[in-house]
Symmetry: C2
């Protein structure tokens, strides 16, 4: 087995797309600048250079390349996708009142909420400028639809997160908004800019959708069983922040009256005491909620792989298929 | 003199464009809805139906009509402009921690900052969806450029507002961003969708730019000499909120050491005491700052009218010319 087959799929993608990724980074640096307002690059540099994995822009680059695209605009679209993602992170941190992101203090802590809101708006606007440069109306539609779905998902999450009536269908809708919509759009625009037909772009969309859902389910699962090193979060953060994620939704669905009262007190009312996290974990184990959540993540990863399987063979296609496996391997 | 010549230009425009405006309102109601997140229409309805004058969408409608446009998309563009404006208001209220807007409690007070941030994002995304429906790449470029200029102006305002080094050039840059960019884009897209040449669209842009600047200068002037009924604000709000607007910039430019120390204490350091507003007003009068500010507003209104004067005669053109006069009449 040589090094290329044992490296993580994410790193293999990055190596294969190195030139394109460099173009994306150069474009991001160029467009996050502001002639008039120096606060803007201060904030964006903090976030854009904080060591994010550029996963979403890589999806766009890989999608365009595996579809045979050889023009320049996949770089613009990849930068667009990263700008939308970064703007969303800035606004999320205001909404969540977060103090840390990727192991560093958040922008709203270093500067203030105002900077996070307004610089986020600037990046949104910049992302739309970037995509208009492609001159392709279809990708504009796809990405503006995705932006609306993202915002809608965030609002839905805000109102649903602490409501025990939130079921798996609502959870899925929230996850499609907050995570999967940008994954699927990132994949789809790669195919569209390459001029692929509806069947191919649908397969690319489906891969991104399923990968994004698997990715978020794994994230929510790791919050209850992961290591802090893997996620930058501590076990039980979501519980303490009263977020109704898939493991808890599954446990609530099987809860008797007494257990329901526990979840209502800790999540809905937020009256948490010492030992509550341990009790929550014991209920998750009792009902097999963590195992069931894991099986859901694996099923979505499988769906992602199956979607790409309909496309012609290509090294990048195979790396994306491996990426879907890798996303769920984090929970083993 | 019949009723049509004595009515306010804004009301004459609204009467002349009544059918189009109804179309805009219907489109706004339709697109501000959300199937999945009921919080969204709650917040937007509060703001969109709060009795704003629809001044910006009317500029787009009037511009398209006076250029002879007879397609359907000026309505989409007008709704786009209003959505961008509304999203900006929602985010401004978070940034300013405002409690009132148009005489009603702000969304961030009725719901929370989270709702204002996320629903604002939703409206931004919706505005981009709306403009893609026109299928016209030029208007997409103009409006996404305007959105970036708006955000940049807001960031610049945030960092410049309490800095005595802020001069008239920086003030103008802030005003172009926060106010004039959307006025000029609203006018320009009306001409572009109608297929007008560069000279005509430049004239429309220039009118919007100058009108927006006049509008904002008048707003800033009324804060020191207006009636609260005219603006929904109290005299001295900007002073209390430590905003360095044009009247104060002019007074600071003529201040000796003692007066400079006063402005530094009250605006830069924010240590305000009883009687400071009266003293500030006396300094503004002493240096003729209010009169000079008024003359600037009149000069910009004149520039707005001169720009439209290059276009062929049209009832709507004349109403827009009257509108420029009306904007500055508020200070007499």
């Amino acid at each position: 087995m040589d090094a290329s087959t044992i490296a993580k799929p994410h790193d293999r993608l990055a190596a294969d797309l190195a030139d394109d990724l460099e173009g994306v980074n150069a474009l991001i640096r160029d467009r996050m600048a502001s002639e008039h307002a120096p606060r803007i690059p201060e904030v964006t540099r903090h976030l854009v250079e904080a060591g994010g994995k550029r996963l979403r822009p890589m999806l766009t680059l890989a999608s365009a390349r595996l579809c045979g695209y050889d023009g320049p605009y996949h770089v613009h679209l990849a930068a667009t996708v990263e700008f939308i993602h970064t703007a969303t992170l800035l606004h999320d941190d205001v909404v969540d009142e977060s103090a840390q992101r990727r192991g560093r203090p958040t922008a709203n802590l270093l500067w203030d909420n105002k900077s996070s809101v307004l610089v986020g708006d600037y990046l949104f606007a910049r992302s739309f400028q970037l995509m208009t440069e492609t001159g392709n109306m279809s990708v504009l539609r796809i990405l503006s639809d995705a932006a609306a779905t993202i915002a809608e998902g965030e609002v839905l999450q805000m109102t649903a997160a602490q409501d025990l009536a939130t079921d798996e269908a609502i959870y899925l809708q929230v996850v499609r908004g907050k995570t999967a919509a940008l994954f699927s759009a990132a994949m789809e625009v790669g195919g569209v800019i390459a001029g692929k037909d509806a069947a191919a772009t649908q397969a690319l969309f489906d891969y991104g959708d399923a990968l994004g859902i698997a990715f978020q389910i794994v994230d929510d699962l790791l919050d209850y069983q992961g290591q802090s090193a893997a996620t930058g979060k501590n076990v039980g953060d979501d519980f303490r922040e009263r977020k109704l994620t898939l493991p808890v939704i599954k446990a609530v669905a099987k809860a008797g009256a007494e257990e329901r009262a526990f979840w209502s007190r800790t999540i809905e009312k937020g009256r948490q005491e010492d030992g509550d996290l341990d009790h929550a974990l014991s209920l998750l184990h009792k009902h097999g909620a963590l195992e069931a959540t894991k099986q859901d993540a694996i099923a979505w990863a499988h769906k992602a792989k199956a979607s790409l399987g309909t496309l012609p063979g290509h090294d990048l296609r195979d790396m994306l298929i491996d990426l879907a496996d890798y996303v769920v391997e984090r929970i083993n």
